[in-house]
Assembly symmetry: C2
Homo-oligomer: 456 residues x 2
């Protein structure tokens, strides 16, 4: 029988004793921020547990890591400290352990109803990186933005490249693929993924779930000789992502081996990488996404640890060709995490499911992303955020953003009494994610944000 807590946890709760995700919260608006773990409908205040002397293992007993306003110090301590904390907390919260269960005073101080707390970003993010790890997403976006001839960046395939070294062959190739417009699937067998590409995102505009998102303004591609149009984005989109939170990290100039990379990943969160497709399309050559993304990125409040996800580990997709040695890992792991996106338009009572995907569709693993990030010597710091990129699955109903779901607005989605090409003012977008265990659910809670009109 599964481990049980003395705190009652509904069977479909995201936060049973098997999960224990970490966050940072304020019990009252005037309180200082402090770390906590979610258990059922409560948040366990780790500053109180720490002050009560209950973190009494060898690593944590003299540490003030739970008396900080963020998790960065705890993250920097590494896997042995994380394991010590998890073991202690699972014991403390279990139904047959009296320490907290029978101490009314400590329960009163340390268990706060989740509905009463204000959740904050759980860590100070030094740098936020966003990968592009879904093959399906990469293929679709490439086709939409660059046309089928250029859908696949050169770093992903070689057969096409080898035929296009001479200018004239290049032109013939272009003609060929222009004729076979939208036949990008023909190119699929030639896809060759060589590296998990990524870009640096904006750390300052990462916000906690529940924060409104102001529709960004910007320039769009002009037609003919007119100046570029300017105004509120007309192609505002969500991107269904998850993000890994970095643990100890590395010194500048010292890469992390792919087989040790898991020790540098504390856990995973839901992330909405809001995107303005019209701004992005006009600005992204040759330096990548910038203002099309930097107006806001929303994180769910809870970091679900790799330890809690371990029972849901699954094989990652077969990688062909074999990755280069620095990316070839002894154990290549994905996680079976069901993901769902809902939209609730202004004035509607109910949300409507827009897409369902799964973390397991990612081509590159979290550990490969992290190893690749440091192979040039780049240093990661505790609390850094590594987004996966949009998690699109293989089916039309599993695509991770409206750009793909509506094929850049060409095929509006029919939802429950409304249609959408892109997001409208007042739309509230909510992500959720969970793993189904035997009699319990390890979940991520929700990651949501509402679109508010541009400020003039």
């Amino acid at each position: 029988m599964a481990l049980q807590s003395f705190i009652e946890v509904e069977p479909d709760s995201h936060f049973p004793i098997q999960n224990l995700p970490y966050g940072v919260f304020k019990p009252e608006p005037a309180s200082v921020a402090r770390p906590g773990v979610a258990i059922g409908e409560y948040v366990l205040d780790l500053s109180e547990i720490s002050k009560a002397g209950l973190f009494n293992g060898p690593i944590l007993k003299d540490s003030d890591c739970f008396l900080q306003p963020n998790l960065n110090k705890f993250l920097s301590l590494g896997r042995p400290a994380w394991k010590e904390a998890r073991d202690m907390l699972q014991k403390l919260l279990s139904s047959n352990e009296a320490t907290l269960r029978d101490n009314a005073n400590l329960r009163q101080k340390s268990l706060v109803p989740m509905g009463k707390v204000e959740m904050l970003l759980p860590m100070e993010i030094g740098d936020y990186t966003d990968f592009f790890s879904s093959m399906h997403h990469a293929k679709n976006c490439g086709t939409i933005f660059r046309g089928p001839a250029n859908a696949v960046p050169a770093n992903w395939y070689v057969i096409l490249k080898s035929t296009s070294k001479q200018g004239i062959v290049s032109v013939l190739t272009l003609v060929y693929y222009s004729i076979f417009h939208l036949q990008v699937y023909r190119v699929v067998p030639y896809f060759r993924f060589h590296l998990p590409i990524a870009y640096h995102g904006r750390a300052s505009s990462v916000v906690i779930s529940g924060t409104d998102i102001v529709r960004p303004r910007g320039q769009f591609a002009p037609s003919g000789n007119s100046p570029p149009p300017f105004g509120p984005s007309q192609k505002l989109d969500f991107e269904l992502e998850m993000a890994a939170v970095v643990g100890p990290g590395n010194e500048l100039g010292k890469p992390i081996d792919v087989n040790e990379a898991a020790d540098h990943i504390f856990g995973v969160m839901l992330m909405n990488d809001w995107s303005a497709r019209d701004i992005q399309a006009w600005e992204y050559v040759p330096l990548g996404p910038f203002l099309g993304k930097s107006f806001g990125t929303t994180l769910s409040p809870w970091i679900v640890t790799l330890d809690a996800l371990e029972p849901f580990a699954c094989d990652s997709p077969k990688q062909d060709p074999q990755p280069l040695p620095y990316l070839a890992e002894k154990i290549s792991k994905n996680y079976d995490i069901s993901l769902e996106v809902q939209i609730k338009p202004a004035g509607k009572e109910d949300s409507c499911v827009v897409t369902r995907s799964n973390f397991k569709y990612l081509y590159w693993t979290l550990t490969q992303q992290l190893a690749h990030h440091t192979i040039n010597g780049c240093n990661l710091r505790s609390g850094d955020l590594l987004g996966t990129g949009t998690i699109s699955g293989p089916e039309p109903e599993s695509l991770g953003c409206l750009l793909e779901l509506t094929w850049n607005g060409q095929k509006p989605l029919s939802l429950d009494g409304f249609t959408r090409k892109f997001l409208e003012d007042g739309d509230e977008v909510t992500f959720t994610g969970f793993c189904k265990g035997n009699g319990y659910t390890v979940g991520f809670g929700t990651c949501s944000g509402k679109i508010v009109p541009s400020t003039p």
Copy 2:
């Protein structure tokens, strides 16, 4: 006659009383970091000046901003505080002011010989953004990386674009430009700059002048069907840049008007945006530069304020077409700052000048960069860094990186007894920059770094 200090300052010193750039230093290895300003061969310790009660103006008199280990708090106070500090320090250090001049004890405590101090990064950088503001650099890189047909990103020109809306015309255009290979200058009259594009760089790997740079390893473009080669970069380069340091910044969702942008720029530094061209060329489509840049970025220790640069303000280049209203500023200002790059190979006594450029060649102004950065609502925080991008001038001797100077290694540079296509291990690269005043020099000191071999 120019203002003079009681501290002797050589005529060619970068740090006369007209400059007073801000940095952060440790007087002894075991000291805590503290802010200072450079004056001649000395650093004035602002924590001692603050403790002595000499910042007695209305804004700074009760502030602990100079008792911090970085300048972020001072930066956040904005232009009125910066002016108050500058006025007070210029008076305190002037030859006819007795307060410090005649106080041997305070002089002893607060004036530290520059040769004895350790300089540190002057601010905590939340986010580092790198622009692409030199027309000459953009044109050259475009031609080198994408060939003349695609040299100019679509967001910069419209005439070519208007002829290429149909696939077949696009192909013909490509053929045309393939035939006129390397004739990119023919396209120049059609250039139309519309936005100061940029990407987010890596904040964690920004280091202070004097830090060694480890040659990065990575993947490069494969030939034919072979896997991509992997190893130490063979095309390691410098990029001659300057960077603006953000003052107060803005709230998420509230853009900064271009005509108020100068109040959000504290000052400017020299910056070397080290680049691995082979890694960059393979990875940068479609998300922009990542590992080709993130292994290290070097800053000079001193932030020269906009107030000190004001006497060297000059017109910015004529912008054609007229920028969109949100980028159209009432006063459009560049600065006449002479820039120089030297390389000193391992074992050589002397450095050799590689290029000479000038800040005034930038097409987009600092204030336009900042306004563009926030137009989508993106928030800037105190201490954020805005790189200008490589500052290339119009002449072959004024190009800002080896990629351009050697045309991607095709035309090695002949220097004093050695040649270079790209940087070699042991090369020490030093930037300097200065403005020539009437009888004095407002300078930036140096920004240097030495290449050390890859770690295996």
